[in-house]
Amino acid sequence: VIPRSDELLFRQVNPVLVDDNRVTSQVFRPGGEDGGLLSVHRSTKTSAEGAYRIHTEQKGRRSIGVLCVSVNEAGGIGLNAFDDEETDPVPDPAHALIDFRSLERKQCEKSAKKLRDAAKPRGWQYPNPAPNVLI
């Protein structure tokens, strides 16, 4: 488990999950095939740009930009984060996961909304200039 601190956890935003400049809180909860684990990158091991580039250029996935929450903010609502260094399809040593596995649906919804709210004040971490999208 990543110890509580102000370390940031970067989260990529799929452009389909933005409607008219508004990001859905779904961005901050795991999908049906994620096994209750939300994929993020650690700021102590990479930058927001580095996380974006590995996600899009190396893994070939889509992102409109990078948002973030701190380890403390996730911990404050009962969510632990832990390292999950990946080697496949590409080496990704900064990869980490936020653990939603023990949560019921209602708690998942609440946590996602709380994380989205926590991400708002920091705004877009990458690219710069930021995408013309509210959070």
Partner: protein, 382 residues
């Protein structure tokens, strides 16, 4: 027997074999809590009798379109007697006595029984905000206007039929609504919201036609509004919606007879945006979420279209729309500190609603149909 000054309490356990209970008016309010009826309220029962007779006449004439009059002695077939007051607020029992020539037919349902039920149906329709019922002819309305005159604003009567069918409440609010409906026309401030359909030239004057969900097609003269804004709306897109504040002459059923004065129209871009978003989501291919993420199920598209209609009718704020990985759809709102989401799942056809107040952590969850979303949002925002 007088139980306290001004209150008549009638207790008679015996009912003659030839009588039957016609109606049990349930009087509610502080004055009736002693299960007694103040004598000044008794004329209400006579007013009710007059209404039943008039409605029965209307029913008879409706059943016999060739006859202009009811048969001789028709009204005399209906005679009511007050026999006792039951507890439960105050519930006087009104018994119907047979006419001298009624015989066994008296125990069969007739126009007067139907009139009792018709009255309740009409009151229910008026309470639900509908237009004046057909059975409430001007003559009936004039009789109804006398009913409830002796009730205080906190009091009501429910005319319960003997079969126990729940009866609607008759109170000052209903009286007021009937009075409003009875006025043939009235001036009121209205907001006409609708889609700009065309600009016509009629008798040398230009009008623009608005298709309004609430009022139907309305023509407004270009001369009384901001002409540039109207043309801008027409050029915007086929989905451009305009909201026009106005003072209009309305008929008793709430239809606009004529528009007296209008303010500047506001162009509502959100409608077009929401429609465009539904179209965008409808076209999503499988794999939209980094190789996974199903295209939207047809039922999810229909759900989005239905929600879009609810929004266009002005019942909910502008929804933000998203797909779900499972081929479903989701709408979100941020309103007055609440983060609200509703998610449609095509596999089990559920609509999961979750609301979180960010500051207080108050949470609500439900499974509701789209037609109840508006009420749910109103509950949150007061």
């Amino acid at each position: 027997m007088l139980t306290r000054p001004g209150c008549l309490s009638i207790k008679s356990p015996l009912m003659a074999p030839s009588e039957r209970i016609f109606v049990s008016p349930v009087l509610k309010g502080a004055r009736f809590e002693t299960n007694a009826v103040p004598v000044e309220v008794l004329p209400e029962l006579a007013s009710y009798r007059d209404i039943v007779i008039e409605l029965a006449r209307w029913i008879y004439k409706s059943d016999h379109p060739g006859r202009r009059r009811v048969p001789k002695g028709f009204d005399q077939r209906f005679s009511l007697r007050l026999r006792e007051v039951l507890p439960g607020s105050a519930v006087p029992q009104l018994l119907r006595e047979p006419a001298s020539d009624a015989g066994l037919l008296f125990f069969e349902s007739d126009e007067f029984d139907r009139a009792r039920d018709t009255f309740n149906t009409c009151i229910e329709q008026i309470r639900d905000g509908n237009k004046m019922p057909e059975a409430f002819t001007p003559r009936v309305v004039s009789l109804v206007s006398r009913l409830g005159l002796r009730l205080l604003s906190s009091e009501s009567i429910e005319f319960s039929p003997p079969d126990g069918t729940p009866a609607p409440r008759f109170d000052h609010g209903v009286r007021q609504r009937i009075a409003e409906l009875a006025n043939s026309t009235y001036l009121d401030e209205v907001t006409i919201a609708g889609f700009v359909e065309a600009v016509d030239k009629k008798e040398g004057k230009e009008h623009f036609r608005l298709h309004s969900e609430e009022y139907g097609d309305i023509e407004l003269p270009l001369s009384v509004i901001d002409e540039k804004a109207v043309f801008a709306a027409l050029q915007h897109s086929s989905a451009a919606r305009v909201t026009v504040p106005a003072i209009a002459l309305l008929s008793a059923d709430g239809k606009i007879q004529s528009v007296i004065e209008t303010g500047s129209p506001e162009i509502d871009d959100d409608i077009a945006d929401v429609r465009d978003r539904v179209e965008e989501l409808r076209k999503l291919d499988d794999g939209w979420f980094d190789g996974r993420g199903k295209s939207l199920d047809r039922s999810a598209v229909e759900w989005l279209e239905q929600l879009s209609s609810v929004f266009e009718a002005g019942h909910v704020p502008r929804p933000y729309l998203y797909p779900t990985e499972a081929g479903g759809a989701r709408a979100e709102w941020t309103t007055r500190g609440w983060e609200v989401s509703i998610e449609y799942s095509p596999s089990d056809k559920t609509n999961y609603v979750h609301a979180l107040h960010i500051e207080t952590d108050k949470e609500l969850e439900e499974d509701i149909t789209l037609d109840r979303v508006a009420a749910f949002l109103h509950t949150l925002t007061g």
